[in-house]
């Protein structure tokens, strides 16, 4: 839902970043307003996951220049846990397994961290179970996975459902979903997408990172961005995703302007 008068909640300005000696982001610009859904597409290795991890605060990446504002505040000055508490959520492309740590306890501790930030009371184990049992319906995840270790032995699809369950519990303001659709069969994709749609509110925004048009049939983006070599080189509407589906990414190599960068958005 595009409303030009809506507040900008995430503003990425000329972001450059590298890991070790390798430059990965090369001047990313992206403005996200409340209520919007953005899709970021692009070839493998173009820097999509890196961008999402930098937004979430992964310590492996050095931001060499540029800024990210979240609701007017300098996001880059915050620790990853602070970012999560103020409402940044990253759905991981590869959710991490943590043996021996109960998924339920993990969900409760993180939910309470966010609630404390919001000035809400922390939930005890019983209250939390009620909440989780309600939210789990949204992703139709088998409650058996609550009693397992975090992501351990989960199939690809179960991991992704667990990510969206976390999103449903944390109720973030900006959710970045990194290839949440990969590894999902069509039914699971529908369930997860409908969950994401229900969680999208007029005061929140969603950034979908995906390879495939099929996710965008379920969740309609307001903007589609194409990322290449560490920058957003083209921005369009939903039609752009359809074009990409048809023509692939080969055209990128043919466009000389890509080296210099074409920036919309």
């Amino acid at each position: 839902m595009i409303r030009q008068d809506a507040k900008v909640i995430l503003d990425i300005v000329d972001l450059h970043a590298r890991v070790e000696d390798q430059t990965i982001l090369n001047g990313v610009n992206l403005k996200v307003r409340a209520g919007e859904i953005h899709a970021v597409m692009g070839r493998n290795g173009s820097g999509k996951s890196t961008l999402s991890k930098i937004i979430a605060g992964h310590p492996a990446y050095d931001v060499t220049s540029g800024t990210i504002y979240f609701q007017g505040e300098n996001l880059l000055a915050m620790e990853p846990e602070e970012r999560a508490r103020v409402g940044i959520f990253l759905g991981f492309q590869y959710p991490i397994e943590i043996p021996g740590v109960s998924n339920l306890e993990f969900l409760r501790v993180s939910t309470n961290a966010r609630r404390t930030q919001l000035g809400l009371e922390e939930l005890d184990t019983f209250e939390f179970e009620d909440l989780v049992n309600e939210r789990i319906k949204l992703v139709q995840m088998d409650p058996i996975f609550l009693n397992r270790s975090v992501n351990e032995g989960f199939s690809g699809g179960e991991k992704k459902r667990n990510e969206i369950l976390q999103m449903a519990l944390l109720e973030p303001i900006v959710a970045i979903l990194d290839e949440t659709d990969s590894g999902l069969d069509i039914d699971a994709l529908r369930i997860v997408s409908s969950g994401v749609n229900q969680l999208a509110k007029p005061n929140t925004a969603t950034i979908l990172i995906t390879h495939y048009q099929r996710l965008l049939n379920e969740i309609t983006p307001d903007y589609v961005h194409v990322m290449n070599a560490g920058r957003i080189i083209r921005t369009g509407g939903k039609k752009l995703a359809l074009e990409l589906e048809k023509s692939g990414y080969e055209w990128l190599d043919a466009e000389p302007g890509n080296q210099g960068g074409l920036n919309h958005g």
Partner: protein, 411 residues
């Protein structure tokens, strides 16, 4: 060396039912001398620390009995607790349930030392030390099943040398759940030996929780003898000792038994925590599942030596050993070494060892969900320990144990 002999002389005069054993133990100590690093099994040990150990006087009766505040005291409800706080074990005051009784004098004479010999502990220095000083043995015979958990608590006293010895004879078909808790205190030195004999088809689930305190030391030998079709599980936890050396040895005297060993050792500060295990199959078709975990922080040192002996007679043995280690500081050190001696040809023996650090990606994942850096590390560390704690007998609530393990681990 003079100090060593002086210390030996300072022990009370050999006396009582164990007099002969005491004399032999003292002889062995004289003959063996203090261990030194030229001896393979002591190669990595802090010998200087052993020299300090022998300065502490032997005590006959602990005057600081088990700390009432201690959370460990109430781990489970349905249990029989036996506290060994004296060299006089007051048998009358121990209420044993039907199916468990004290070994009588002749049974004790018959069985005492049998498993020690089977486990080739005869020339073991820490066993000799225990023999030299122990005045009385707690001896139990288990004949039933579905018994309450037996919890043997060994408390301590500051600046003292505390020897204790236990023998448990588990009859054919009998089943036992056993937890031992050994607690150190400042400058205390524990010497502990336990023998467990499992008859055919017997089943024992054995937990040993050893929690030290400032500058405390522990030397413990576990000697297990398993008859055919018996099932023995051991779960050990060592933490908080400046010096700890645990030697569990299991011999399947006829093979055809199952042994399960889980160990967790956590060192910090300048601790040195060691486990030297040995499993020998003296018959065919035995199985072993072993997982040892060691986590070392600060300037500490963890040692694991895991021997498995499969002589020719032990065809169709199936043994698995895994050592998974966590290096929590670049100044810490972990030495892990499997020692497989396999003569039989038709066997399956697998072993592996890993040393890793706390995974940055795991920490980031938790932080990205609003969890503080150190809380994330603690959660992951807890998860690491949980796998072992889950194997302890009957203890449903492990939070108290976990809290003990977590103390001092956060940066």
């Amino acid at each position: 060396m003079d100090e060593y002999l002086q210390w030996l002389d300072s022990l009370p005069k050999a006396s009582g039912a164990l007099k002969a054993i005491q004399l032999r133990g003292r002889e062995s100590l004289k003959r063996l001398g203090l261990p030194n690093q030229a001896i393979e099994e002591w190669r990595l040990s802090d010998i200087a620390h052993l020299k300090k150990i022998i300065q502490y006087p032997y005590v006959k009766e602990l005057n600081q009995i088990f700390d009432e505040e201690n959370p460990i005291k109430s781990l489970v409800d349905n249990k029989i607790q036996i506290i060994i706080d004296s060299q006089d074990i007051h048998k009358e005051s121990i209420n044993l349930p039907k199916g468990i009784r004290h070994l009588n004098q002749s049974e004790l004479e018959q069985s005492l030392g049998h498993s020690i010999e089977k486990c080739s502990f005869m020339d073991n220095w820490t066993v000799a030390m225990n023999h030299a000083a122990t005045m009385e043995v707690l001896g139990l015979k288990v004949e039933g099943k579905n018994l309450p958990l037996i919890e043997i608590v060994i408390p301590s006293q500051r600046d003292s040398f505390i020897p204790t010895r236990v023998i448990i004879f588990v009859e054919e078909n009998a089943e036992l759940e056993l937890t031992q808790i050994i607690q150190g205190s400042q400058n205390s030195v524990h010497s502990h030996v336990i023998e467990v004999h499992l008859g055919q088809e017997a089943k024992v689930n054995h937990g040993l929780l050893a929690f030290g305190e400032m500058n405390s030391s522990l030397m413990a030998n576990i000697a297990i003898e398993q008859n055919a079709r018996s099932n023995y599980s051991l779960t050990t936890v060592q933490e908080g000792w400046l010096f700890s050396r645990l030697e569990p040895r299991v011999v399947q005297i006829e093979g055809q038994a199952h042994t399960n060993i889980k160990g967790l050792q956590i060192s910090k500060g300048k601790d040195q925590i060691a486990t030297h295990s040995l499993v020998r199959f003296d018959g065919p078709e035995g199985t072993l599942d072993q997982l040892q975990k060691a986590a070392a922080a600060d300037h500490s040192h963890c040692i694991f030596n895991g021997s498995i002996e499969v002589p020719r007679i032990a065809q169709k043995t199936n043994a698995n050993q895994l050592s998974r280690n966590l290096l929590l500081s670049s100044n810490a050190r972990i030495d892990t070494k499997p020692e497989l001696e396999i003569v039989a040809d038709d066997v399956r023996c697998a072993h592996g060892a890993t040393v890793s650090q706390l995974e940055e990606e795991q920490i980031f994942y938790l932080r990205s969900r609003g969890i503080e850096d150190d809380q994330a590390a603690a959660l992951i560390f807890k998860g690491y320990c949980q796998e072992i704690l889950n194997c302890l007998p009957q203890n449903k609530d492990k939070t108290q144990i976990m809290q003990k393990l977590l103390r001092g681990m956060r940066k």
